[in-house]
């Protein structure tokens, strides 16, 4: 099927004629044509004559045969591009447009018009895009300027958790495929050379197990915020018990501190919600090379509205992206409605808030031992006040600076 359509197109391209052959011996004419390598097709017999199709270039060859067989040949129809061209000789701009169009397409194909990232989970598309911008790779850049291998190398250097990266330019689109490390290996995340552990909150030390450094507190001690708990300065004594120098280390210890975590939450009972009226207005825009053109000059008469934008980039085929966007903005009208939460609803919401605080704390490794929160409902709002009794681990550090000379304490 496809083959015949290709053949038909080629015939159309070179042009062909429908001729009517009548006279003494049209059959001999047909045979002679075949013998002279002249292709005939769609041969019809209409009682008085024969109708057939012949290529334009073959038509010039049959003159001899016509004479030989003394038949009469009448052209009944002309088909194909050569005749079409002749007919539309005056359409100069149409023909001029074809090479211009091809030329413009060719020029546009030299630039990058789209980017796609695949396989990045922890690194966002924006981050990669910003990095590419730093490397002077952006949409609209001359395609040949991009050094794909160099880009891969730079990506690997910049983002340490990328284990494999492949960048390819497909048509006018840049594909960056990334494989990230599955497990991030936490090497020591202490950014100081030497440091002490300090209390991040007032509280009571519940237990302390020192691994390195000098412990300054014991279990049961009350501590204040900012107090040094384990010192990273380890004193070295000489034989007479005098300190000759300090060894500086990063203090390491498992310390559990208990304190009261205050809870003070408030919830307004009055709230607003959007009541959509169902009225909406669609406006079309055309964006060419970052220039937006309004195609619709209707005014938006809504007081409050939500706007949604749908953007479609024009592309030719699957790969060829053109920097033209058709945009549609949908404006949806709504009225702001004031409402009041019922008592049970407001109680439920404030409980949710407290639960969120608790789950946030638990995520950080804080153990909740006791919960003591009172909820009071008022006309306008609901208040939750009280405290949580928690066990927390000490992670906060203070750097030991060089100029301290290790004698700060």
């Amino acid at each position: 099927m496809e083959r015949t359509s290709v053949i038909n197109f080629l015939r159309w391209f070179v042009g062909y004629l429908e001729i009517e052959v009548s006279g003494y011996s049209p059959k001999r004419f047909i045979n002679l044509c075949a013998n002279n390598q002249i292709l005939l097709w769609d041969i019809f017999n209409t009682h008085t004559s024969y109708q057939m199709k012949i290529l334009l270039r073959d038509f010039w060859k049959i003159k001899k045969l016509v004479k030989k067989t003394s038949v009469k040949v009448v052209i009944s129809n002309r088909y194909g591009l050569p005749f079409f061209m002749k007919k539309s000789k005056m359409r100069v701009f149409f023909y001029a447009g074809i090479p211009i169009c091809i030329f413009v397409l060719f020029i546009l194909a030299q630039f990058l018009w789209a980017m796609e990232f695949e396989g990045n989970y922890s690194i966002s598309d924006d981050t990669i895009e910003d990095f590419l911008l730093e490397e002077e790779i952006y949409i609209g850049i001359y395609r040949k300027k991009i050094n794909v291998e160099d880009l891969e190398k730079k990506l690997r250097e910049k983002f340490s958790n990328i284990t494999w990266v492949s960048a390819t330019i497909n048509g006018t689109k840049l594909y960056v495929r990334i494989k990230e490390e599955d497990v991030t290996i936490y090497s020591s995340n202490i950014e100081y050379e030497s440091s002490s552990l300090i209390a991040h909150s007032d509280g009571t030390i519940q237990s302390i197990v020192t691994k390195s450094g000098v412990p300054l507190v014991k279990a049961g001690d009350e501590v204040e915020k900012g107090q040094i708990l384990v010192d990273g300065n380890i004193p070295i004594y000489d034989n007479e018990g005098n300190i000759i120098k300090y060894n500086r280390v990063n203090a390491e210890a498992d310390i559990i501190i208990s304190y009261l975590y205050p809870v003070n939450e408030e919830l307004e009972r009055v709230y607003h919600y959007k009541n959509y009226t169902g009225n909406e207005l669609k406006k079309s825009y055309l964006e060419i090379l970052n220039q937006t053109f309004l195609l619709d000059f209707r005014k938006i008469k809504y007081l409050y509205y939500d706007m949604t934008e749908i953007s479609n980039q024009v592309k030719i085929g699957n790969q060829f992206f053109v920097p033209i966007f058709f945009k549609e903005r949908i404006y949806k009208e709504y009225h702001l409605v004031e409402a009041i939460y019922s008592e049970s609803k407001s109680n439920e919401l404030i409980h949710k808030k407290i639960d969120k605080i608790i789950s946030n704390l638990e995520e950080k490794g804080v153990q909740i031992i006791e919960k003591n929160v009172k909820i009071d409902s008022y006309e306008k709002n609901v208040k939750a006040t009280g405290y949580l009794f928690v066990y927390d681990t000490i992670k906060e550090r203070m750097e030991i600076k060089n100029e301290d000379d290790g004698t700060s304490n």
Partner: protein, 98 residues
């Protein structure tokens, strides 16, 4: 005498045919036999022929290298016609070798 000659020629063809058969040679080349391929009753291809003797929409007579091929039917149309091959479409009712 005349009878003998006919017998001889007949013998010769069959001998040639037998040789083709046993040596598995293509008969269209060796014997100049026409190849007629028919698909259903609508399409028909002919290879190895010399020319058209008669053509109306009910009857097409082709001159093969040895025999005439008569194709009977209705709405017969020659789709294309070259020196090597031709295609006939229409309603084919009868194919005869004379």
């Amino acid at each position: 005498m005349k009878n003998n000659k006919i017998n001889e020629t007949n013998q010769r063809i069959t001998l040639k045919e037998k040789m083709c058969d046993s040596m598995k040679l293509p008969k269209d080349i060796m014997l100049g036999a026409s190849i007629v391929t028919v698909i259903g009753e609508r399409e028909l291809w002919v290879e190895n022929y010399k020319g058209i003797l008669d053509y109306t929409d009910k009857k097409i007579v082709l001159q093969g290298k040895q025999k005439k091929i008569i194709i009977m039917g209705s709405y017969l149309k020659i789709e294309y016609y070259t020196k090597e091959e031709m295609k006939i479409s229409g309603k084919i009712e009868d194919i005869n070798f004379v």
